[in-house]
Amino acid sequence: MKLLKPSWVSHNGKPIFSVDIHPDGTKFATGGQGEDSGKVMIWNMAPVLREEDEKNENVPKMLCQMDNHLACVNCVRWSNNGLYLASGGDDKLVMVWKRAAFIGPSTVFGSSSKLANVEQWRCVTILRNHTGDVMDVAWSPHDVWLASCSVDNTIVIWNARKFPEMVTCLRGHTGLVKGLTWDPVGKYIASQADDHSLKVWRTVDWQMEANITKPFSECGGTTHVLRLSWSPDGQYLVSAHAMNNSGPTAQIVERDGWKTNMDFVGHRKAVTVVKFNPKIFKKKQKNGSSPKPSCPYCCCAVGSKDRSLSVWLTSLKRPLVVIHDLFDKSIMDISWTLTGLGMLVCSMDGTVAYLDFSLDELGDPLSEDEKNTIHQNIYGKSLAITSTEAQLSTTIIENPEMLKYQQERQNSAQANAGPGGAGPESSAPKLNSVMNGESLEDIRKNLLKKQVETRTADGRRRITPLCIAQLDTGDFSPALFNSVPILPSGSSMSSQLTNQLSSDSSPGQLRPSHDAMLTSPPANSAAKGLEDNNDGVKSSLLLTSASKIEPMKALDSRFTERSKATPGVTAAISSTAGLTPLDSRPKDALSALKDAKTKEETSSDSEDKMAAINKNLAFGKRKPELLLDGGEVVEKRKKGRPRKDKVAASIPQPFPQVTPPAEREASRVSAPPAPIAVLKLPTPSTKKAFSLQVSMEPSVFLEVENEVSVVAGSKLSQLRCSRDGRDWNTLLPSSVVTAAGSSDVLAVACEDRMLSVFSSCGRRLLPSIQLSTPVSALHCSAHFVMVLTAGATLSVWDVHKQKALVKNESLLTILSGADTSVSQSLLTQQGVPVIGLSNGKSYCFSSSLETWTLIADKGDSLVQCADFRSCLPTHDAPVSSGPLAVMQGRNLNAGRLASRLSSTPHHLQQSMTLAFLENQLASALTLQSAQEYRYWLLIYARFLVNEGSEYRLRELCKELLGPVHKSAATSWEPTTLGLRKRELLREVLPVIGENLRFQRLFTEYQDQLELLRNK
């Protein structure tokens, strides 16, 4: 055994809490305390392994350092595939790091050490859920899950395929959880906590399998970590700090019955960390001796607070080796190389030790195949441990249909991945540069000119920064590190300098007569090659300039202290409240901030309201104009006008009084006005002439000219329609107030409250319909006509069938709030009327249910919190034209807020999303919007599949399939909204088939569909 303490592995003397060797053995990570933050560092393994590499200046020792954790890092762990590094710290966060491939060496901007980061590791996900320090993290076999445990007494299981999704949170410990280990076959996870217990949890249902307390009951005091470990053959679990006869031990727990009969004894203080060698060994065959079968064994390293390390073989009664006084302080973590022969140990004293074993000492490691054979012998082949794709190989596909489907899926996945795409990683987001082909250098040259600068309301400058790379890509475009300052191209100095630099491209030519001050920084900024050439010259220049600038102590302090010139709160005051005196209490600023915020939040609502108010105003204002326009009839109308204006100012008055005298008779004949006539919706004013396009395809234009001629004292209005270049026109006895049309029908409402309906060719389809109150809104769609009257009643007619779908239905039910008004109304192609209100709610009147139904609510928290992004179809464009989408508007952004709420418990978000999706489905159904129904059904199904809700899935399938055998008693309809349900099921089934866990469900319904098809 060789022992080495590489002194260069250090966090500047600060404690190192964790160490982990990369699976490929070329690097290792350390985690611990940084200067004023947590620190993760990645080191090159080569200088540890080979002395010549350690001495070779060109072999970097430190590869990368990350200061992103706000507080001490307690644990660093590489994923099994080596692509990710997870770190957990006292800042309650787990960060997942990935190497950014496109970025070259760089320094951390402004870091005191000028050591460059040779590799760039970028934080790709921050996992937030813990409410206390994260003590340990562990990747499951095959990197399906990542587990983290915390002093908040919980263990969180994260979906490592879909960060930051949480799988579950394991509760049960009553003390700080300080260590985690996965069963090597993925069936269990074990945790050890300060509550004197070691718990084993099943991964099938995430319930507790065993709670082991006896060996820990005597445990007193606290150890910083309790890193337990599972043996590579899965047969033994070894705990950290346990007690036996008041002596500290590492308890061995047998998988079989969780018996605790054996322990590792000998350490004088608590055991902090146990780590099994990943290899299983067998006795080294001596040369010449006959190969005799020997039992395979495992190797385990134990580190303790007593600063000593012991290494054990399960085939020996005594430790293989014990090393005392390796460190000045407690051992914190141990990591083996994947070869099983090297081991790194780190300590609270801030140092790291490397141990190198030989095969003679440990034995012959079994190959991975041999290890798998052992696993299969013990645990069998089909361990249905998980439903994810990684386990695909271990889940048996039970029928040929499923197999065919899975193969097709894999093929198409490969086709999609294209060249270079490798397995699950192919889904990794691609580089998404926003630079439009312009080189970064070009952009930088003109940045000052190009950047958008505006003034805020209070006169402050506001710069819109230029986005040079989007973050959701995971990786970044090659970009500027150690970048070269670009001098304004117009300045004489820059050209002068470039001349100088280009002429000085060989070393030594830089004339000493140059003023050092003038040349040193630009030389610094020269192109890389030049920089190398000029190295000597440059450094001397730098020296001169540095020596000239003698930093003063007084100035030094200014770098680190937040200056009084910029106290944050006063800035907030001046920026938000403007007029608030500077010495006012911060509270004022805060309340101002709050006010501003609430204003912002309600602005959309108030806009709607404003619009409604404006409409009302316009209504009131336009009346006089009409008086002037009215010509001869003005006299006649004048009597009625003033009263009408009063009503416009929302004085409750029954409508018959409002109507002009000439029309009285008609109104008497018509149905008496509804008693709820107090509700007043704005009505459009009569214009002299107007035109509108009622349909694009075929193109139909409608022109209205009021009072074209007067015949026998009554004025006539003309309605002219041009459809695909063919015109027709008709005359109406009263001024047309509003008109609407679809490709099938045209409807016009007149001042005398008459509604006329024409076919697209100008044929009158219905006799004039007398409305109780003036028309507020008129819509046509397909062969349906919808009228919203000023008296807040709604009617819809089916012109073809000459039937009323909705009859004088009052809006009172939905306009209950004091300030709500109708902000939008529309009629779907299926004749479903939809009313949008100023409070963000949208209702449709379901003629089958004969009731108002809520279909959208912009303020609904479910809408904002539902997160179904992962379930969105990749190839289908989102349905944006359906009535549901129209009413919900742009707000529906697939959980934009959801990301902010990532701290909400997963099950809560899951329920919210489920509720939201079911709302959508029901709404689409009521709206009879078939396309949207199908769209949301597929998202819903995918969500159920992802979340594993089998009950709901089964019910859904059952409903879609209907009865297989015909029977008279069934009420099952084979279609919904004109979509054949079984066709929908055919679309849903592949979604279900994506999760092997539901293969039985898939098969069951696939079979039945086949059966039905053959019938």
Partner: protein
């Protein structure tokens, strides 16, 4: 963890005559969409002796800032010479770039600045009235200080911290004791702002 990381600051137009505007090309990266603007300031330290002579050359709001990497050029006029003590007009001083989010400063980038006469003769015999100096920012050696702030910045929390006795927080040891740093959650990150 800080949501905004400054990746690079390139000092443009350097060295330059004293009267030229300052130009810094700032590249930063943001972890997630920021609902509010960042506020950047350039502060010129007029005299090493006293903060009294600090001049805020300019302050700009930068936004909106979606997640991603961004850059902008921050240009600010040269300091008002009238506000600089004559004794400090020539020599070494400091220019600071600070960035605040929700009124909390989270990064401070400082550069040494040397103001000098270009003319060797003037350098030898400086005139009594300082004039025509050249400004040279030591761009190669930025001094970066990061501060922990409350990025979520909800007002409730800020109000809470307002009621905390400030002295207890301000006396925190600068570096963490061996072992563990104090748990951050308990300690209001932005307590300094209310001192």
């Amino acid at each position: 963890m800080a949501k905004v990381q400054v990746l690079n600051v390139a000092v443009l137009d350097n060295p330059s005559p004293f009267g030229n505007p300052f130009q810094f090309e700032i590249t930063f990266e943001c972890m997630e969409d920021l609902p509010e603007d960042l506020e950047w300031k350039i502060i010129y330290v007029g005299s090493a002796e006293s903060e009294e002579y600090d001049q805020i050359l300019d302050s700009v709001l930068v936004g909106p800032v979606p997640a991603g990497r961004h850059m902008f050029v921050f240009q600010a006029d040269a300091p008002n010479t009238g506000l600089i003590p004559e004794s400090d007009a020539v020599g070494v001083t400091v220019v600071l770039i600070t960035c605040t989010y929700r009124g909390q400063e989270f990064i401070r980038i400082g550069y040494y600045v040397n103001n000098e006469y270009t003319d060797p003769e003037l350098r030898e015999n400086p005139p009594i009235k300082p004039n025509y100096t050249q400004r040279n920012i030591l761009a190669s050696n930025p001094r970066v200080t990061r501060f922990h702030i409350n990025w979520e910045g909800c007002a409730e929390r800020m109000e809470d911290s307002e009621n905390v006795d400030p002295s207890s927080n301000s006396m925190l040891p600068p570096s963490c004791p061996p072992g563990k740093a104090p748990p951050l959650g308990i300690l209001p990150d932005n307590s300094m702002d209310f001192l």
